[in-house]
């Protein structure tokens, strides 16, 4: 990894920071339970809200550490750094290298949400890696200096349904 986020823990307050942004450690029961609760509401698109809020939070973070400038010399390196951060945070392993134009396919061969969901609820037909869609939007919005709404990210196949890997189709709006 060329970039390792700085983790700071204030033990007397039980506050945890990654590069000075408040974070906390949550287990798959919590994260998958949240998705399960949101998906149960059928009269508005709660998952769209979830993806958008994830994108906003990642974007706020990436503005600090993922801008292509003197320190990160190319889009390729910025995408690589984003992959490293994704893995560092425990969300799995993702390949963003095909998104160099801001469009294309991202693939993931290891997914926190897939292993977590399988452990609790088992397989299903619908994709489950919603947070990753927000993550990809934020990565591209930062690198290409756009708004997170300028990118459409769809999970076109997911390992939760026996696919070999999770695939995300990315297009510009």
């Amino acid at each position: 990894m060329d970039y390792i986020p700085k983790i700071r823990f204030e033990a007397d307050k039980n506050l945890l920071y990654m590069d000075d942004i408040p974070i906390s450690l949550h287990c798959h029961y919590f994260n998958c339970g949240l998705i399960n609760a949101i998906e149960a509401i059928d009269y508005f698109d709660g998952i769209d809200i979830y993806i958008h809020e994830a994108a906003k939070c990642f974007y706020e973070y990436f503005k600090r550490i993922l801008v292509v400038d003197d320190e990160i010399s190319s889009i390729e390196k910025a995408l690589k750094r984003a992959e490293d951060i994704y893995r560092f945070m425990g969300y799995g392993r993702i390949d963003l290298s095909k998104l160099i134009t801001g469009e294309g396919i991202a693939t993931s061969d290891s997914s926190y949400f897939v292993v977590g969901w399988l452990a609790i609820y088992g397989k299903r037909d619908k994709p489950v890696c919603h947070l990753t869609r927000g993550f990809i939007k934020a990565v591209l919005a930062t690198i290409f200096k756009k708004d997170i709404r300028d990118f459409n990210v769809i999970e076109i196949q997911c390992m939760i349904s026996n696919a070999q890997n999770c695939k995300f189709k990315v297009s510009r709006i």
Binding site: K13, S24, C27
Partner: protein
Amino acid sequence: MAFDPKKVIEWGMSLPLMSNERGIMAAFGIYAAMNFNEFFFSTVSKIMHMATEEDAVEVEKKLYNAVLDCAYYTFHGARTSVDWQDYIAPMIETKEDELMALVAFTNIFGVGYIEVVELIPGQRLVTEVKNAYDPPRYIEEFGIQKRGRCYMFSACTAACMDLVYGPVFPKGIGTFKAEEVLCIAKGDPVCRFVATLK
């Protein structure tokens, strides 16, 4: 050896909580990930304000149960680990020590500091948190709330009682039920959680 909650936190901080090459962080039988605190707040608060009252209550129940599962299984995984047996168990002489140790263990995840303010063994546990992330954010974004918003701490308080005073793992989950009786989001000075037998 007298029980010292700081030792539990020191031990927890020393754990190598790192994701592996596949980006998976497995510990104590669960998979962990780092979440932005703002993400949980902003997502859940928007859902709650868009949902009907009935559905909001249902979402709250599901979140409570998700955290109950999380805490019950994670804390049990921790207390049965070799490291816990080596480092923490020698300090634990009574069930009450174990309860204090589990509450202290909550204080390594970055969610705000939880303290025990009252314990009636086997019957009632009262905990308080003064610095949870969500309550001030609820007030900033939506004003004073009608209900408590700290679903995580309610369920953690119940899970600690389930593990120590409930039937033997894994049958004890849900033996106790916790409620948030005070919440900073409601304008109270602290967030307070009371777990009692169901």
